[in-house]
């Protein structure tokens, strides 16, 4: 079974930091041409440099996934410069944590818009090329909290669980065209997003992790690389949990 991504074009959203960055670099290491997006020009330049420094093909580009016109333009540009996108990793995400009793509509909408609606938008944009190519991999980064729940994250958990349901529907819709759609659900990974948590919350979470430590972004990237690779050709509609035993179904 091969894990090579040679000749593939991969698009990774939210690639300037954390999990997205690790995913972009891992897909590049396996031979893919990688385009990583960031919400700022500086972030895009940073990805560009990381890809070039690693001797990989690809580029960093600026994108706000909630901007439909920008998404369409970006996919067009990627296809023009590098070819049809064969691997899409929907990683870009935000949190707006708050107890439900205090959660504002804007906090709900912002999370659902970025973490759910934009995932559908990006998936739809790459579908045409994948259908014609009779090949494609859509991989969504979800979260353990979609399964386990988490106080203060009703919006985030709902959006991530929504993505998992959408992935199963798309897997059925696109399976006949040899396009697989899967999710990777990280647990507690050491990134800027989790570093923002208070110490007490971190300690409580650590106590529930069988492996007794936080995960590294590279450990999520490995799971994504597997799902993107020829080795995972028969895997679709599933969620691969990578959480150190924090949640077991």
């Amino acid at each position: 079974m091969s894990f090579s991504l040679e000749g593939q074009v991969a698009l990774v959203t939210g690639a300037s930091r954390g999990i997205g960055r690790a995913v972009a670099l891992e897909l590049g290491r396996l031979g893919a041409t990688v385009v990583g997006t960031a919400t700022s020009e500086a972030g895009a330049a940073d990805i560009d440099k990381a890809i070039a420094d690693a001797g990989m093909k690809g580029a960093g580009m600026m994108l706000n996934v909630t901007d439909a016109a920008a998404c369409e333009a970006l996919v067009g540009e990627v296809e023009k410069r590098f070819g049809v996108v064969g691997i899409l990793v929907n990683n870009a995400g935000i949190t707006r944590d708050n107890l439900a009793m205090r959660m504002k509509d804007e906090e709900w909408d912002a999370v659902v818009d970025t973490n759910l609606r934009a995932v559908f938008r990006m998936s739809k944009l790459v579908m045409r090329g994948m259908m014609k190519a009779r090949a494609g991999r859509i991989i969504n980064i979800t979260s353990v909290v979609a399964s386990s729940g988490n106080p203060g994250q009703a919006n985030y958990a709902a959006a991530k669980a929504g993505v998992a349901g959408m992935a199963r529907a798309l897997a059925r819709e696109l399976g006949s065209r040899n396009i697989t759609v899967n999710c990777v659900a990280p647990g507690f990974i050491d990134t800027d997003m989790t570093r923002a948590l208070p110490d007490a919350a971190r300690d409580a979470l650590l106590g529930n992790i069988a492996l007794g430590r936080l995960g590294r972004p590279e450990e999520i990237a490995g799971a994504v690389a597997f799902l993107a690779s020829p080795a995972a050709a028969y895997v679709t509609g599933t969620t691969l949990h990578v959480n150190g035993g924090m949640y077991m179904s």
Binding site: M131, K132, E173, S176, R177
Partner: protein, 79 residues
């Protein structure tokens, strides 16, 4: 240059994997040529590319047979 009817039939044959000789003008994509719903979406995409046009969704839904595709192209695409 092939005429529109021939071009449409060629695309239908390629897209649905059927022999051009089996395709009649009155053939329905789904009932006669074995297309599923995704096939019909792809067929419209292929027609858009061949004839360099954009077919709105509400028009695309009405194209269910070879003749309807030919009629659409004749009526809407600049020659």
């Amino acid at each position: 240059m092939e005429n529109i009817e021939q071009r449409v039939k060629k695309i239908v044959a390629e897209q649905l994997g059927v022999n051009e000789s089996e395709i009649k003008n009155e053939s329905s994509f789904v009932d006669d040529l074995g297309a599923d719903s995704l096939d019909t979406v792809e067929l419209v995409m292929a027609l858009e590319e061949e004839f360099e046009c954009e077919i709105p969704d509400e028009e695309a839904e009405k194209i269910t047979s070879v003749q309807q595709a030919i009629d659409y192209v004749n009526a809407n695409v600049k020659k």
